[in-house]
């Protein structure tokens, strides 16, 4: 069984008149990239603040296996400090009780990891937003924590900076357990091994993306492109394979693009055989649910 880096059990967080988190429980596996997904106001940031101890839970238990570094939603940067001095200060305040004094090498490592060599002597206030975000990540890494928590690390960045930060997160995976919150489902799809979907303070789903795909996709969906499709053939097909559903996506010239699905039976081979016998089958593709489909379904509380 995989060891957990973070474990939340029945966590509840109340503010006067508002239940921010309602008995949420999930685990973050050691060495994984775990995505916390949810719309704005779902409770992602509150969950992260609880994990790092910025706020206490109203009830429930949080177990964290080792040290944590966090990049909050707004990177906590002192604009008047130089990047290197800032990281050195952060190292000092995060390792007061530590005896080894390899400060210089840890600061250098964080600078190299985050690609800050070219700006390490510049004032933070003069940096671009992308670099500021990198400095924010570097401060989370400078004390060499085992777990790194990133609250919406790519929000507000330009596409190039987003790509850089995503690559950086993938690099972090080699040495750290990473937990990140995002509402970009594509980002979670690219970066995360596991996800937890939070909505209105409740955990809707939690697990690996593959598990969730299996869980939500109880039937089979294929998209086919063929020539010679007709209403008559559709009737014959449905008679042959009861329970199947056909949706015409588009007609392009003589060819037709169809989505064929079945709620619980795997007719893939039979469908392929029937279609290639009765029409000119140009392409055939099995469709997996995207994270976006899972997210939408989870929020609606339904399965596809």
């Amino acid at each position: 069984m995989t060891e957990s880096a973070i474990e939340l059990f029945n966590i509840k967080k109340d503010y006067p008149g508002v239940v921010a988190l309602d008995n949420i429980s999930f685990k973050v596996k050691k060495g994984s990239v775990h995505g916390l997904l949810g719309p704005n106001g779902a409770g992602k940031s509150t969950t992260m603040k609880l994990i790092v101890g910025l706020i206490p839970p109203t009830s429930g238990q949080i177990t964290v296996s080792s040290s944590i570094g966090i990049l909050p939603e707004f990177p906590p940067l002192y604009g008047s400090m130089r990047v290197k001095d800032y990281l050195s200060f952060v190292y000092d305040i995060k390792t007061i009780h530590k005896k080894d004094s390899n400060k210089k090498s840890y600061v250098e490592q964080a600078i190299v990891k985050c690609g800050l060599e070219s700006v390490s002597h510049r004032l933070i206030e003069n940096l671009s937003r992308g670099f500021k975000q990198r400095v924010g990540i570097a401060q989370a890494l400078v004390s060499n924590p085992d777990i790194v928590i990133l609250d919406e690390p790519t929000v507000g960045l330009d596409p190039e900076a987003i790509e850089d930060i995503r690559n950086l997160i993938l690099e972090l995976k080699k040495d750290h357990t990473v937990m990140l919150s995002t509402h970009h489902l594509h980002e979670a799809n690219v970066l995360c091994d596991d996800v937890t979907i939070i909505h209105q303070g409740k955990v809707i789903q939690s697990g690996s993306i593959e598990e969730l795909q299996k869980q939500f996709q109880t039937g089979f969906v294929v998209v086919v492109l063929l020539e010679g499709w007709s209403v008559e053939k559709e009737k014959n097909f449905l008679f042959e394979y009861p329970g199947s559903k056909i949706r015409v996506i588009e007609n392009v010239g003589d060819s037709t693009k169809l989505e064929i699905s079945h709620i619980d039976k795997d007719y893939l081979k039979l469908w392929t055989k029937w279609l290639s016998t009765n029409c000119d089958l140009l392409s055939f593709e099995k469709i997996n649910l995207t994270l976006e489909d899972i997210f939408k379904s989870a929020i609606k509380g339904e399965k596809r």
């Binding site: 790092v52 101890g53 910025l54 706020i55 206490p56 944590i68 966090i70 909050p72 939603e73 707004f74 990177p75 906590p76 940067l77 002192y78 604009g79 008047s80 200060f89 952060v90 000092d92 305040i93 995060k94 390792t95 007061i96 009780h97 401060q139």
Partner: protein
Amino acid sequence: MILKGTMILAKKEIKDSFSSPLIYILGGIFSLLVGWLFFNYLLVSKEFTQQTFLQSVFFPIFGNINYIFIFFAPLITMRLFAEERKLATIELLLTSQLTHLDIILGKFISSAVTVFALLALTFVFPILLAFSGYAEWSMMFSSYLGTYLSILCFLSVGLFASSLTQNQLIAALLAFSLLLGMMFLPLSGTVLNNYLVAQILQYFSVLFHTEGFLLGSLKSYDFVYMFSFIGFFLYLTHLSLESRKW
């Protein structure tokens, strides 16, 4: 360990203070005001031949310095927590290994050093007088000590006010209002025409406890009052930080 965290933060805050133009502007205004006062009191002192330099020049100057710092202390402390809250850097401090005590003391010490630097600008006056034979150094020391302690009291109020808001202007106005209210405390006692109440209210005034120092008498209850006052407002600051978790 507590001292280590406190000193790391204090060092950073002192650096911040002295790299901000505010301290130099305040230093300039302060030097100008106190220099002008010194010059005037020195001229007038010729008319009070029976009084010492300390009585005719330094007592009024130290009194004025106290009033000046009712305005200056809120300006020095206004950014300490308000800026951290605005920039969300307070989360960095609170997720570090610094305790609340480290954070509060670190910031308090940095503002105390800043004030000491401003006050040090006035050291030139007794040195100047020393050349003309002035030698009441123990009285001078106790006056400086009393003035410095009373300013530390003002700083503790300013620190508390700064912890309540993320707007520096509001923090400064709040601290200034509190200090002004405390200054008027003895006056309200007089208005009530009740001796006991007037005495009690007077006891709660910082300026009342500074007078003893200016007269050269170091009384333990003045020290107890000053340190209790500072401790009380630093404790309120701690509660204010703690309230983020509520």
